[in-house]
Symmetry: none
Subunit: 216 residues, 4 copies
DNA sequence: TATGAATGAGTATTCATTCAT
DNA sequence: CATGAATGAATACTCATTCAT
């Protein structure tokens, strides 16, 4: 009676486990050896799974990469929370929270970040496209937010929102790069970076009245 | 007949020509198809050179990539001119000039930029290392400059120079990414971007007195 | 509940059904895609049976083919009825009947014919052997019949029975080939072919008195 | 001066040699082990050539098969010579010559015949198509010839040329099958078979006046 | 019996590199 | 210097078969 149910449950549990194991193994191997240097053997060896089994869960090596890519992009999207100007929480605090979220997502997915930062563009036309689309959307989103801010009088009207959004994205990507390359930063470091990155970007979109730097 | 000199000259002329042709061909092909999708056949076909000849000029496909990488890094290094605080030209004007230089170098070497931005990290341990080193040096350089600025009282002392330099590099890299992906921007666009990027970054390292953005 | 008998019966009924379904599915798939292009998945998918179940009924893919092969060979053997010279029915009428039988068997088993004609020789050493043996027996049988006919004075003694039997088999095999390749011929067409094929073969073993064809 | 010429000559000689060696090796291996059981390793091992070299001369294993197939078909086509009714040589002698030619071509290309007879239909859609087309053309050719013969009064008008041409082709194909399966027949045997096969087929298209066989 | 997830041996093809000419 | 035919190591993917449930 409980036979089939149990079997089904166990089976699907195994299924989930196997796929997770493969994703985990791939994340590790891709991150340490790079996509092109990684052989299917490496992944299945690391996951403790037979060769054929791999293709039970993934159509191809590329498809596997794509799933990993999506995993990170989903995390990042989730971390990006828009600002609610009607909220009683100050915009800066909201932004502070979002920045911390994003940096945390990057740090928490160090392997994925490494993979994405280093190889998303050179695995495949598809992965390249997906990354480009992702970043374009982010830039567009930031740009729209800035324009909105200008309308609301929160941001100086003489800011080139196009360039500013590009710069802001750049600062975040450089952080991703840094995480991908250095050892995982401590929570304290991340907090400090979040704070300073936010300040830097806020400064970047602040009104350009007068020059701060002068050599006389 | 007229002696070895002439032959040598002609030969070395040809030599230079062939190598240049191969580099040019590789830059094009790598930029359009990507390093891993590019076959030696593609390069020699495009350069009009025989297969064996390729290996007279380059040790390997990787070595070829490395040379291209260096070409761009040299250009970029050349474009980066430090600020002379004793000069009669204002710091901001000097910076403005440098930024314009850098952006121009990027735009002028669009193919190389594309290649480097997309693949430097996933060709090889060596290329990866070289890129990392290059960017690390830049960050260090910026960081030192900022510290210097703080010492001179040009930059607010509460700036985290570490994070700020990371952000600044990020803004430049995002521009490289943009050039790699979009059509070549016009001179006017580049000028506008240079101006705004500089302002953004200057804003980022400006004293954080009071918040600019507030929703009350 | 009502005892083991019923269950057994039902089970064996299912057994017969499943096996028949698999044979049927295989006949179709092999005929349309060819043995080597057909995957076990295709067969079980078409038969609506689980993968493991397949191996309850057939030892291997080859064994399945062998069973299909046998099905056709049995049909063909059944269709071949020897001539009874003591019968009151004329030899030609008996032959006519047999030819019609054979052609009908071929047409009625179009899928099997297609498979056997096209692939029996290249599936396996075993299938190849079995086909060769089958055809050799047929040739031997025809040959013996012809020798018998010669002894009885029904067939001219100057006929090379070896070659003639080869030719006769050839005409039948060409018909099999034709059925395998074209659409199923109508009953009328088959009858016409049977009549003409018999006449052709009878003509082939007729006494070679004089040449029929002459260009003077 | 004679440098490049010689090299070219030698090179092309080697080229021709290598390709011929591969074709020869493939003919042997395919004939003895069958197309599907033959590995590229078998062919290159037998030809004494490196793996990559194989693909210098053939696009794929299938393409190799196709070339072998064409080799036989060309030989066979060349062996088929039409009858010239205005010639001073009797039609029967002309036919006799052609039949001998065809059988000789089959025997001389025993390996190819074996391959084609056994596998042409199950290698590929393309090979299958090519074989079908070849045989269809032959049948059509025979059929047209028979119709011509009927017009000229050389062949009885009550012959179904469609069926007769099918039968005739069948006799030849059965000979091919026989050569593919048995040891190479001696010249004498082939001559005998040619003579008898011709007589058989001539008998098949002779006027059906009266029955030869009768059991009373 | 029935199932279908797991297995892993098996192979055609690619392509960077070499080297005889 | 120049050539391009030859090389062969390297690898993703398939699919018949098994076996735990």
């Amino acid at each position: 009676m409980t036979g089939p149910d149990r079997r089904t449950i166990r089976a699907s549990a195994t299924r989930a486990t196997k796929k997770a194991a493969l994703l985990q193994a791939a994340a590790q191997t891709f991150a340490s050896k790079g996509y092109h240097q990684t052989r299917i053997s490496d992944v299945i060896g690391c996951a403790g799974v037979a060769r054929g089994t791999f293709y039970l869960y993934f159509e191809s090596k590329t498809a596997l990469f794509l799933e990993l890519l999506d995993l990170l992009l989903i995390e990042l999207r989730a971390a990006i929370v828009g600002v609610d100007v009607t909220s009683h929480i100050s915009v800066e605090d909201q932004l502070s929270h979002t920045v911390r979220n994003i940096l945390a997502a990057v740090v928490d997915n160090r392997n994925l970040t490494t993979i994405v930062v280093r190889e998303a563009a050179c695995v495949d036309a598809e992965t390249d496209l997906r990354m480009a689309r992702f970043y374009r959307r982010i830039v567009d989103y930031i740009c729209c937010s800035l324009l909105e801010g200008q309308k609301l009088g929160l941001i100086a009207p003489d800011i080139d929102t196009d360039v500013a959004s590009m710069c802001i994205l750049g600062t975040f990507r450089q952080f991703m790069e840094r995480v991908a390359r250095s050892k995982t930063p401590s929570q304290m470091e991340v907090d400090q970076i979040a704070r300073e990155m936010l300040q830097f970007n806020l400064g970047g979109i602040r009104a350009r009245s007068g020059t701060l730097l002068t050599n006389r």
